[in-house]
Every structure is written in C-alpha cells, then in structure tokens.
Amino acid sequence: MRTRLQIGGIWHVVLILFLVLMLYPLIYALGNSFKSLSESYGTTLNVLPKLFTLENYQAFFNSLPVIRITLNTFFLGAVTTIVKLVTSFLAAYAFVYFRVKYKPALYFLLISTIFVPFTVTMIPNYLFISRLGLIDSVWGAILPQLADAIGIFLITQSMRGIPYSLIEVARLDRLPHRRIMLDIVLPLVRPAVTSTGIWFFITTWNEYVWPVLILKSTEQYTLPLALQMYISAEGGTNFTVAMAVSVVTMAIPLALYIMFQRYIIGTFASSGIK
C-alpha cells in the first residue's frame, strides 16, 4: 500500500505544477494590468503591483470605443446563441422523434460538416456576405453561423436519453408536436440546452477567424479584434495596456464558467461518447 500512496503523491505534485504553469498566464495578466508601464519593467515576475493603478484600463477606454465594442461582442454572442439553440433544438427534435426515409443519411451529412475546414467555405461566404452588403456589419458576422452541427449533436444526444414511451403516450393522446416539444421534451433536456447555450455564447464571444474577415472598422469590432491591435511579433510597447485588454476580454467567459462549471463539464463529458 505504501508504494501506491507514494505514486499518488508524485502525481499530485506533477498535476499541481502543471496547473500552476497553466493558470500562471492569467495571474500574470491580472497582476501586470494594474501596474504602471515603468513599474512592470524589471518586475514582471512580481505577481502583485507595488502601486495599484487603473491607468491601463483608462488608456484602453480612451483609445477605443470600449463600451460600443463590448456591446457588439455581447450582441454577436447573444443573437448567435439564441438562434443557434432554436435551430439546433428543432433539428434535434426532428431527428429523434420522426421516422422518415433518409433520416440517418441526412443526420450523418449535417454532422459530417464538423470535418469541413473553414477555409473551404471562407471565400464563397465572404463574397456572399459582401454581395448582401453586410461587410463591416455585425449581421455579416452572425449570419453564417446560425446553425450548428455540434449543437444538433449535443441536444440530439440528450433527447435520446428521454424514455421513448413518454412520447408515445403523448402521441396516443393526440397531443400535438408543439405541446410535446415545449411541455415534455424541453423541460427534460433543459440542462443540456442550458450548457450548450453557455458554450455557444463563450465560443462566439471569443470568436476571431470569421469576424476578422467581416468587421473592418473599430466601431464594429468585438473584444478579441480590439485586443489584436495590441500585439506585434516583438510584443510592442503597450505591454500593461495589452494585459488590461486581455483581462477585459476574458472576464465574461471566466465568470460564466465559474458560475456554470458543473453544467458545462457534464455536457462536454458526454459529448465524446457515441
């Protein structure tokens, strides 16, 4: 038994070290965002600032329309999340509770889009969005992502967990699909829908690849795009401001995760199981 305990101890040390390395960047950003630029030189290793200052956050607010950018990010995240949840829920319901020819093939076709690299659709979508006149509009960033294969997959998985007899009884009672959907199925899959929604929101909030092609002016930027302005290969000179912008960009996703972590981890734990 003694060797077992020792092995456990070694692994705890390894994991704690690993976690420290993984989480250090966040502490580093937070600490340095409250230092003045001159203090940060030579003291980057100190986690806590000697002189606590908000000047980096002020600099960020003075140089960019931060409120507008934050609202843009929020709007992009909220609209995308809500519409995606509705389209995914409806599609999942169709896939689980209807017996239709070609259904498995259709499901496979939609899910297989996970394996299409974004570069394949990038040029045509860019041309289409610009023809619609939506370049530099948040709608241009929203439109192509209003349906989601992973969302359909996750919600389908949780609907399959509902005993089918429940639905059969409701069908025998001639309950319309609308009622079954809203009064029976939705309450039962609510945890999965909630965590899928939170995950959608976090992902869209953090999104970079598509918005960077569509959104051109700082007025239309989202937070990750604004943050991108504070970098160059050498790091540039606005080190402490960059840290402040990083903190602002990650605050909301981190807060959501800390509030809903059990939900999120539970849903993702089940996502890999076929």
């Binding site: 209807f98 020819k101 349906a147």
Partner: protein, 292 residues
C-alpha cells in the same frame, strides 16, 4: 409525402437552409473556383482547368507547408491527446482525492479566447524581457528568438493552442476513462497489476471509441485552431516556417488574392482530412471497443 415527412422537413428547415447557404453551396462554389484564375475583384474569371492544382504540386512552398502541417499534427497529438489521456487515467483511477478540483481547473483555459492566449504567451515567452527568459537566464540558458526560428516557432505556437484545447479534450477523455467498468480495474488492482499495465491493457482499449474521437478532432479542429496564433503572432513566417495548410489557404486568398490557389488548397486539405478519417476507420477502428 405524408404529413409526418412534411413536419420533419419543416422542423429541419432552419438548420438545413443555413447549412445549404453557408456550407454546402460554398463547398461546391470552392470546387468551382479551384478551376479558375481569379483575384476576387476582376469581373472576369479565367478557366484554367487543373492548373491551380498543378501549381500547388509544383510549388516548393506547398511542401514546406505540408511538412509543417504534419509537424503541427504530431505536436498537437502529443499535447492534446496523449498527455490528457494519461492525466485522465491518473486523476480518475490512480488518485483518490481532489478529482473535481483538477477537472474544474484544467478546463478553465478552454473558455478563454485564443487571441488572449496568443497575447499572453507572446509576452510570457518574450525571449528578452519575458518572465520565462528571465528565469532561464538565472541558469545561463538563452531563449531562442522563437518567432524567427524554424522549428521552435511551431512548437511554441502549438503550446499556445494546446493551452486552450487541452481542457476540453481532457474532460471528454476523462468521461470515457470513467465509463470503464470499475470492477475490472479493481480486480486487476487486487492482482497487483501495475498501473501502467492497467492503462495500456484495460482502460485504453475499453475507452478507445472516445479516444479515436479525440484523435480526430485534435487533427481536424486543432489545425484550424492554429490559425489564430499563426495569424496574430507570425503571419506564417519566418518565410512560411510556421504556416500550415489552413493558414496558407487564407494567405493565398486574402493576402495574395489568388482565389483559385486558395480554393484548390482548401479542397486538398479537406481530402487529406477525409483520407485520415478513412485510414483511421480502416486500421484503428477494427480494434475499437464500442459499448453497445
């Protein structure tokens, strides 16, 4: 069509419309564009047959990018598949305490934007003034100028992406390891089978369905995740040393305005993905255990 069928398609319509407009049609259009010489602006597209594909095969940069892509895949598999698999086993089977704490903490970076990750690591790993360089300096080790050094640049960019992707893969693998029949593991333990053997002979085979899933997403999504740090930190440089198939297609389209090359390259990338998927089904899937 009966009423059930009509209702089925009505429910599916919103998703299907989006997929048709923004995935399936663009896919077909990309195939079409790959046969034309076009710069995205000029009113005329010139039909060139297979010339774009021939250009790509002849271009030495393509080989550089292809080799890079496989190096990326190798490093990502190590950091986002093998290590989280081992961690999942250790935390679930070997350790008895703090399981939930480890799970919650390891997942945390997964919710943070890769743009944030890219910025933080650029500063942390700044070869002159970053904390890592300072600590290495105490031991008289000089950090390489990694943004300018072949090889190092890929490893560090992978590190940034892995920082974000690790937690998600870990959680999925943890659930799979957790799903393995406990009695089997306990029986092996009573027989004093060493942990390494329990992992290799029991847990790995019995959780392999999920293992394969994580393997695939590590390759397919990992390469796409790489786009963000590459674009933000190196733009594929120095001299294409950090470009991969995904970034190179973007570079061809939105920097060089060669849509034909870009489209052809994307189609080839997709083919490589599908070949990898097929190979996986053919060779690995045979030994895979599915629960039902």
């Amino acid at each position: 069509m009966n009423r059930e069928t009509i209702k089925f398609y009505l429910l599916l319509l919103p998703s299907l419309a989006i997929f048709l407009l923004f995935v399936f049609w663009p896919f077909a259009y990309s195939v079409y564009l790959s046969f034309f010489d076009w710069n995205m602006i000029s009113p005329e597209k010139k039909f060139v047959g297979l010339q774009n594909y021939i250009d790509i095969i002849k271009d030495p940069i393509s080989y550089k990018v292809l080799v890079n892509t496989f190096i990326y895949i190798g490093v990502l598999l190590l950091m986002n598949c093998i290590i989280p698999y081992i961690f999942a086993f250790v935390i679930d089977v070997v350790l008895k305490r703090f399981k939930n704490f480890y799970k919650t903490a390891l997942f945390l970076p997964a919710v943070i934007s890769l743009v944030v990750g890219s910025i933080l690591f650029t500063w942390l790993l700044n070869p002159v003034s970053g904390p890592v360089a300072i600590i290495l300096g105490w031991f008289d080790v000089t950090m390489p100028m990694w943004t300018k050094t072949d090889g190092w640049v890929i490893v560090i960019l992978c590190l940034i992406t892995s920082w974000k992707v690790f937690g998600y893969n870990f959680i999925v693998l943890y659930a799979a390891v957790n799903g393995v029949d406990r009695e089997l593991i306990e029986a092996a333990r009573l027989d004093r089978v060493p942990a390494r053997k329990i992992f290799m002979k029991i847990v790995l085979p019995l959780s392999s369905a999920t293992g394969i899933y994580v393997l695939i997403i590590t390759v397919v999504q990992g390469l796409q995740y790489m786009f963000t740090p590459i674009k933000i930190i190196t733009q594929g440089g120095p001299n294409y040393a950090s470009s991969n198939a995904i970034y190179h297609a973007f570079h061809e389209a939105f920097v060089l305005y060669r849509t034909g090359h870009s489209a052809a390259l994307s189609i080839l990338t997709m083919l490589i993905f599908f070949i990898l998927l097929l190979l996986e089904f053919k060779f690995v899937e045979k030994g895979v255990y599915y629960e039902n």
